[in-house]
């Protein structure tokens, strides 16, 4: 499976955000870098099918299962960690697997407190766990390490590596050095 992005353009209210973006991404990590407001989130939204491009095409994802860590955590605030994972996974939820991943990320599946009581970093790690446990062919990560300390960044990067073996991973990050060990393909978005 290979993602093909060709001559992608997107503007909001006449202000161009992406102009003529082209790249292809196969299994492995593709790091998308750009200055703040440079279109990283917009590009991921287009790839996830949440918005349509003004022009250009995205192909190769016709039957792909998508997963994502969004720029915001997008968790169900009144449910606990397991409740959030169950919402996405349904009957595919396996408590042992979920518990093991949460533990690796420094969280606990036994923690029954609602997510609204979580710290920012805990929410971030739970949204990463949700993305990794959902079956996927392409994983879009929008600033997944925001709010994490060095130790948790290292843990999160290790989990992404082990869960995303052989999958397409798009990482939009200010600090791509967290994934440097992975020797990612780099896509630099130019100022439109």
């Amino acid at each position: 499976m290979e993602l093909q992005v060709s001559h992608l353009c997107k503007a909001y209210g006449g202000k161009s955000v992406l102009r003529d973006v082209s790249f292809s991404a196969g299994p492995g990590l593709t790091c998308i870098t750009a200055p703040s407001g440079g279109g990283k989130t917009t590009l991921l939204r287009l790839v996830l099918g949440l918005e349509a491009p003004d022009s250009g095409t995205i192909s190769g994802l016709e039957a792909a299962r998508l997963s994502a860590v969004f720029q915001e955590d997008r968790l169900l605030a009144n449910r606990d960690a397991a409740g959030n994972l169950r919402f996405v996974l349904g009957s595919a939820y396996r408590s042992e697997e979920a518990g093991a991943l949460l533990e690796r990320l420094g969280l606990s599946a036994a923690d029954t407190k609602p997510v609204r009581e979580y710290s920012g970093g805990m929410k971030r790690r739970l949204s990463l766990a949700r993305a990794l446990l959902a079956p996927f062919d392409l994983l879009a990560l929008d600033e997944p390490f925001t709010g994490l300390d060095a130790e948790n960044r290292r843990r999160a990067a290790a989990c992404i590596r082990s869960y995303a073996q052989g999958k397409i991973v798009l990482l939009a990050a200010h600090a791509p050095e967290d994934a440097a060990e992975w020797k990612p393909q780099m896509v630099q978005l130019k100022n439109p």
Binding site: L66, E72, R74, N78, R79, V88, G90
Partner: protein, 259 residues
């Protein structure tokens, strides 16, 4: 879950305030009786009302009337809730449905309930009059509030569900129901009072046999003021009891779904 019930609603009034107004009622009734020989026909005292209520409460017609009225009015309430919620969901999904229903809802809200009762008296069988009118009064607040609740569902969570291909049933339980329940609860709190008032008014106008409305009508005809007050107290108690029970059930559901 944090409670969806505001503090003012949980304790709508203090005991001392209720006692104060009962004393005012008793004093006013005694004063009328002392100024005018048939003063108790104008205002029955709380004690006379209570005495009459106790007499009525041990008779079969009392329970039959209460049961019949409650059955019709609550059936109207529940049917209207179901219809309003379903149409609100359709309106949220299809702009045209919302546009189509907007004038109808505005008319139901604006037209005096008495006009509807008189018209419905011509349209629907008498036995169904109170059910129809109660439902009609419940429809607008429930429809509008549920629609508002659906429209306030976090679009970012809906996008998340879309990316992860969460099935519609799970979206309904996990996203829409928790979002809509507080709106639905507040609409029901308002609508339950409305449906009892309008339903009993329809029974009075239609003089529907064996109902609370008919008893109120008879009390008026025969100038039985104590009866009028006793039946009114019965309606208030039934209305308050059902409101409490229903809202408690909604709160329990809200806790279950994490609203």
């Amino acid at each position: 879950m944090t409670s969806t019930t505001p503090e003012t609603e949980r304790r709508p009034f203090r005991f001392w305030a209720a006692v104060f107004w009962l004393l005012v009622w008793q004093a006013a009734s005694m004063a009328l009786k002392s100024w005018y020989p048939h003063g108790d026909l104008l205002l029955a005292s709380p004690l006379a009302t209570l005495r009459r209520l106790a007499e009525l409460a041990v008779t079969a017609p009392f329970w039959a009337a209460a049961g019949r009225s409650a059955g019709h009015i609550l059936a109207g309430f529940l049917l209207a809730c179901a219809l309003a919620s379903a149409l609100a969901a359709l309106s949220a999904r299809f702009e045209r449905v919302r546009e189509l229903l907007a004038p109808l809802v505005a008319v139901i809200k604006a037209v005096p309930v008495m006009s509807f009762i008189i018209l419905a008296f011509l349209w629907v069988p008498t036995a169904l009059l109170s059910m129809f009118i109660a439902g009609l009064m419940v429809f607008p607040p429930v429809y509008l509030n549920v629609l508002e609740g659906i429209r306030h569902t976090d679009p970012r969570l809906l996008e998340m569900a879309r990316v992860f291909r969460v099935p519609p049933g799970r979206c309904l339980r996990g996203l829409y129901v928790p979002q809509v329940l507080p709106y639905f609860r507040s609409a029901c709190s308002l609508a339950l009072g409305l449906c009892w008032k309008s339903g009993v008014a329809a029974e009075v106008i239609g003089v529907i046999r064996g109902t609370l409305g008919e008893q109120l009508y008879n009390a008026k005809i025969y100038f039985e003021t104590a009866d009028l007050f006793a039946w009114t107290v019965t309606i208030v108690v039934l209305s308050a009891a059902f409101e409490k029970l229903f809202l408690r059930a909604v709160d329990a559901l809200a806790r279950k779904v994490g609203a």
